[in-house]
Symmetry: C2
Subunit: 463 residues, 2 copies
């Protein structure tokens, strides 16, 4: 048995659901399906419609590709396409509340009910029974097609390989297609394992990838994508299943694939928890680094993470770009959000680590070449009299040069000023920033209270 096979067995021991878990899952799922049928009858809808409704179990627990302990049951109730959308939503919610009396409503493209039954997280989602995945009315309509495609191809062995791949991606932090992670979705992972015929072959392929990579299981691509990883949906030739996956997570997979092939070990799948960094730790790192961080702290707008994170990312890069444009060299930056529910108040931080936080009063400004007469004369005239800057215009080589007052001499002052609202923030972040604190240098150590894990990752970064 190769080293990698030994790791494989050891990981599977921990992630493959045991017979008990499987039985309980099957029992609960069965009961739930029965209850959905009952609820359907109770609705007393048009019998023609009721005849056309079916119930599909989807997701990893339906396909036997769930990791032990993950306890999600996804039930999709498919309605005929001639049912108006408002009816579909009404029926969907009625069934949901009947089956999951303690459940609550959530919103994807339309509302559905989520609740807990026997310790399982249950999603009860209404959708349309479209005849083909390309005809979907909303994203959820696609799920049953994904499920069918994979179920047809997943042998028991491949299902085990999926477990390894998922655990690997979780271990390295690249699992999840949410917009905070921007990694690999469950569907994408399963498709890749099916496509390459297992976890190890997927690793070996990934180790050698030279992005952009296109994988098209059904060779039916109908659109070009410029994402680093393109996996054409076998059920929809115009969709990239990996559209959300960032270049960094793709690189992460490549790095760890090589690393694991070189030195097989289980730690990659189950990395030890990292100690949150405390304020002394932050101060030590800042002393060691000699840099000056500035941090904008504010209450995160109450948005779901998938709306919040793109705005935080946009805001962070807007601030970084503005600071660099003003001459402040940025070493690194990050955005952080406090743990907690998306609906509770929680703090967010835009953290920018600078090489220098203050700059001289004057800045060099390069004018036109003297030879470009019209431009040069205009430039010189503009600065020669009233608007005369502190120094210049003078000549350097064949051009005019000015040294004029720098607009911003302190990065922290810039972030405290209204100029922060001109840097291209996310809309809701801009609103939230009307109340903000700006911390500078060692003051940022106080962030350890609330952001210890994020600061650990920031100050002890790993691939």
């Amino acid at each position: 048995m190769s080293e990698l096979d030994a790791v494989r067995e050891s990981v599977l021991d921990r992630v493959k659901p045991g017979p008990d878990e499987r039985e309980r899952l099957e029992a609960t799922s069965g009961r739930l399906v029965d209850r959905v049928h009952e609820a359907l009858s109770d609705l007393a809808m048009d019998p023609d419609i009721e005849d056309d409704v079916d119930i599909v179990r989807v997701g990893s627990t339906a396909r036997g590709t769930w990791l032990a302990g993950d306890r999600d049951i996804d039930l999709f109730v498919r309605f005929p396409t001639d049912l108006p959308r408002s009816e579909l939503e009404r029926y969907g919610l009625a069934i949901g509340h009947a089956v999951l009396p303690d459940g609550h409503e959530e919103y994807a493209e339309h509302p559905y009910v989520k609740g807990t039954v026997d310790g399982f997280e249950v999603d009860l989602v209404p959708c349309y029974a479209v005849s083909d995945a390309t005809e979907i009315r909303s994203a959820v309509d696609r799920t049953p097609f994904h499920d069918a495609y994979l179920s047809e191809r997943l042998t028991p062995t491949l299902a085990e390989e999926v477990l390894l791949a998922k655990r690997f991606l979780k271990g390295i932090g690249a699992y999840g297609s949410d917009l905070k992670t921007r990694g690999f979705s469950g569907y994408l992972t399963e498709l890749l394992v099916v496509e390459f015929g297992g976890f190890a072959p997927l690793l070996r392929a990934a180790a050698d990838w030279s992005p952009p990579i296109t994988i098209d299981p059904e060779t039916h691509a109908a659109t070009a994508f410029d994402d680093p990883l393109v996996v054409i949906d076998p059920t929809d030739p115009e969709r990239n299943v990996a559209a959300v996956c960032s270049a960094e997570n793709l690189a992460r997979v490549q790095h760890h694939a090589r690393d694991l092939l070189e030195t097989p070990r289980t730690e990659v799948f189950f990395p030890p928890d990292r100690e949150p960094l405390d304020s002394d730790g932050v101060r030590d790192h800042l002393r060691r680094r000699g840099t000056t961080p500035v941090a904008v702290v504010f209450e995160a707008p109450s948005l779901v993470d998938d709306q919040l994170w793109p705005q935080l990312r946009k805001s962070r890069s807007g601030i970084v770009r503005a600071l660099e444009d003003h001459g402040f060299p940025v070493l690194r930056s990050t955005a952080m959000v406090e743990d907690g529910s998306e609906t509770d108040p929680r703090r967010a931080v835009l953290f920018v680590e600078l090489l220098v936080e203050t700059l001289p009063s004057i800045a060099r400004h390069l004018g036109p070449p003297v030879a470009v007469r019209e431009h040069a004369e205009g430039f010189y005239a503009a600065y020669a009299d009233e608007e005369r800057p502190p120094y210049g215009p003078f000549l350097e080589g064949d051009r005019y040069v000015l040294e004029r007052d720098r607009e911003v001499t302190s990065a922290a002052e810039f972030l405290e000023s209204d100029a922060i609202f001109d840097v291209g923030l996310g809309t809701h972040v801009a609103d939230a920033l009307s109340q903000r604190d700006v911390l500078v240098g060692a003051e940022t150590a106080t962030l350890a209270d609330g952001f210890g894990p994020e600061l650990r990752s920031y100050f002890d970064p790993r691939p």
Copy 2:
């Protein structure tokens, strides 16, 4: 009379030598020529050779293009080309010392005697009477051809125009083909005035130039040049008379040509002397600017200026490049040499004004894209173990990034260390730097004692 004509008259009044000065010059020149003839006879050389020797008055005083008060008399003694070089030098020096008993020897490509007679600076230069300027044995052989070319073409009016052009170039600081100034030589100035038919036409042409500019009075260019200004020597198709002229001085001429045409005035020709900057002035400017200068002060190597200045320029740019490579943003820099004779000890300064003088302990280092497997694996392996830098390798986007210890965290310490000798200094400057002081920030104010005029130009720069 146009405004420019009025300025012309007013300037000519001041720069055109009066009848007295002309008479005295003629009288002295005549006496000197006679004395050269006498000295030649006294040498008792082979009569065949002596018959072939002639004496030529060259330079601006010979052509009537000297500025009032400039009192250089250049006498060239031309020997036949079959005279061995050692003989030429021996005869040349003998004549020189006979005619200028108080004179001293100087060296161009070969030695000659320089002395003072009746208040005139006299150069007595031996050269070969080659038949064509393209056949010269040393640069001085060319001078009589230049003189003949110009003398043929300079009408009395054009000679006046030359005076205006020379005074203009002196006024703006662009006159002189020495390697400190890198401006316009007298010969170049006269050629340009002849070519454009006067000072005002030259100004109008220059105002519109879009370098590189090529002017070829005899349309016989035989070589391509990549200088910003190319004026093909009418006596040598392979020579650019303006080879020394810097892009900055060309731009300077363009700037002031436009300015003078727009607002004719005599101040451009006779700019008032500028007050040297004192140490309080330096400190005021530094406070106003908020920058941190570093200055390397040392004893200038005893070289003639034409050897010293290229080395200073090379040393300055080597230091600037090294500081920028180490991450220190340079606002501006200059080299300065104390007034005084080239043979006396005098101080020199390499002055670099920085936005920041100290930088954090760590520096960001961008590694290869993870996808470039061989390179990426080598990079990661190199830093993963013993050589592990303080931070990383980690991922940013599709690449590895390190944060490692910065080699240089203080610009002044860098200049004080032996690393300064690796930046590509001029040879003699490198030797001279073995004894150096490094001044930082306000300490540089002490340089006002000795470099006041240079510091005035630096801190109050003009086009």
